[in-house]
């Protein structure tokens, strides 16, 4: 038996087949300089990726929250409850919760093939996100008006750190929503792109609920 019976697993042969097939792709590089990976990354990798990334996000907020708890409960902490608790946070929470529902609805419509419905609810979601951020800004203004700033007291420091870092994450989420809407990702497909965005959005929603209840609890 000859070597030739092991064709495609022997490098020489396999390689050649490859180059012939690809023609212009000298050296195997994609002409556009784009990665060859783009074509072969399975969609589920994006879902894995966002899930893994959320693990890091979770750790990040857990670190902040445990710092909060330690700092609050230690002796001589100088801790004073927030002088005012911005009422608008309730509204913000509702907005964010609502956005999760509109997002789910948009996804369901997309999967059902109803593109215009998808676009409508998707935009609503982004709008709700923006409204949430605006609300958070109003909350900050309210605190500032009451003379409560970042360095006023540990409680206010944590309030601003929580809302700012979470707000940044939401901002990223909004960017992702808009990107999916207007740039129409080609490589990973709309179904995957919306799934990734949805996982992220729901998660940040959950993080907010957690932070909010923490702040609410401290108010008492």
């Amino acid at each position: 038996m000859a070597i030739g019976t092991l064709p495609n697993r022997s490098i020489g042969h396999g390689r050649h087949a490859g180059h012939d097939g690809r023609g212009a792709g000298a050296g195997g590089d994609h002409p556009s300089g784009d990665t060859p990976g783009g074509a072969i990354v399975p969609p589920r990798a994006y879902v894995t990726g966002i899930t893994v990334a959320l693990g890091a996000v979770l750790m990040f907020f857990m670190a902040l929250v445990s710092a909060y708890i330690v700092r609050r409960d230690m002796p001589l902490s100088g801790w004073l409850p927030l002088a005012v608790f911005p009422r608008i946070l309730w509204l913000d929470t509702l907005l964010l919760l609502a956005s999760s529902f509109t997002l789910s609805r948009a996804r369901r419509l997309l999967l059902a093939g109803r593109d215009s419905g998808f676009r409508f609810w998707w935009k609503i979601t982004a709008g709700l996100g923006i409204a949430f951020l605006a609300g958070q800004l109003i909350a900050w203004r309210e605190l500032a008006a009451a003379g409560v700033y970042l360095a006023t007291n540990p409680s206010s420091s944590f309030f601003f750190v929580f809302t700012a870092t979470h707000g940044l994450h939401i901002l990223g989420g909004i960017a992702a929503l808009l990107w999916v809407m207007f740039r129409r990702p080609r490589r990973l497909g709309l179904a995957t792109a919306t799934e990734v965005a949805a996982i992220y959005w729901h998660f940040m929603d959950g993080i907010w609920l957690f932070l909010f209840s923490l702040l609410l609890f401290a108010k008492a």
Partner: protein
Amino acid sequence: MSPAGRHVYLDAARDLCPRIPAGTRRRERGSTFASVLLALLLSLLVLITVWIFAARVFPAPSSITAIGDQVDRQYALTLWITGAIFVLAQLGFAWAILRFRDRGQRARFVPGNSRLEFAWTVAAIILFLGLGVLGRRAWAESRFTPPSAGAIQVEVTESQFVFNFRYPGPDGKFGRLDPRLISPSTGNPLGLDDNDPAARDDVVVPQLTVPVNRQIALLIRSQDVVHNFFVRELRLQEDAVPGMIISVHFTPDRLGRYEIVCTQLCGLGHYRMHSYLNVVAASDYQAFLNQQQQALRQ
């Protein structure tokens, strides 16, 4: 496998790995020198290390507390166990490197041995956790018990880059401190508040003087950054953390003058942060206290 078949297989392998020359290369050269030298070096490492520890070339200074002695015993036990593992492991590798160097033999296909693996897992668990459990005692005695009621209290205040020791005076009470009053140049390095009667008889000195065979309870605090209080002979150290008062206690049983150093990086003068622990006879201790009270009254 027939010789011909083997030949074909080798051809296949060569095709995959283009530069294997035809025929099996039986023996890699040059492994003998390296294996002998490496085995030699490992043995030398073991020999020198064991000698240094066995001959106590660099001993820790002897301990001056009962707890320190206990620490030393735990240290010795740990040294014996880890020492044995060290010798076994290094020499084991030295032997294997020498014995199984490439001499053209064929390696034995042994992907594992669950019985052996189980054995050394259990051995490691027993050894390491046993050591940890035994090590608990010396720690418990120095940290789990509060100082006894009759202990002599001294407050240690550390700041960049000095130690100050405060004795509560005859009233047995430490007076109030106010960080706004801190002023080393006018002789008030701790910020003692003289409006507090308890503060007026407090003595602040740069060295720690204690009587022998009495339990000493230190209250360690810091005025600025994290420092540390460490005396080799006590086998004891504790950080001085601003915002905290940390209590440790010890009972020195030997007269002498011992050095106190700071082991926690605290700024550019970290290296020169230094003081003394004077362990004196009871009568000398009394004399020291009297003298300090006299100085205070003047």
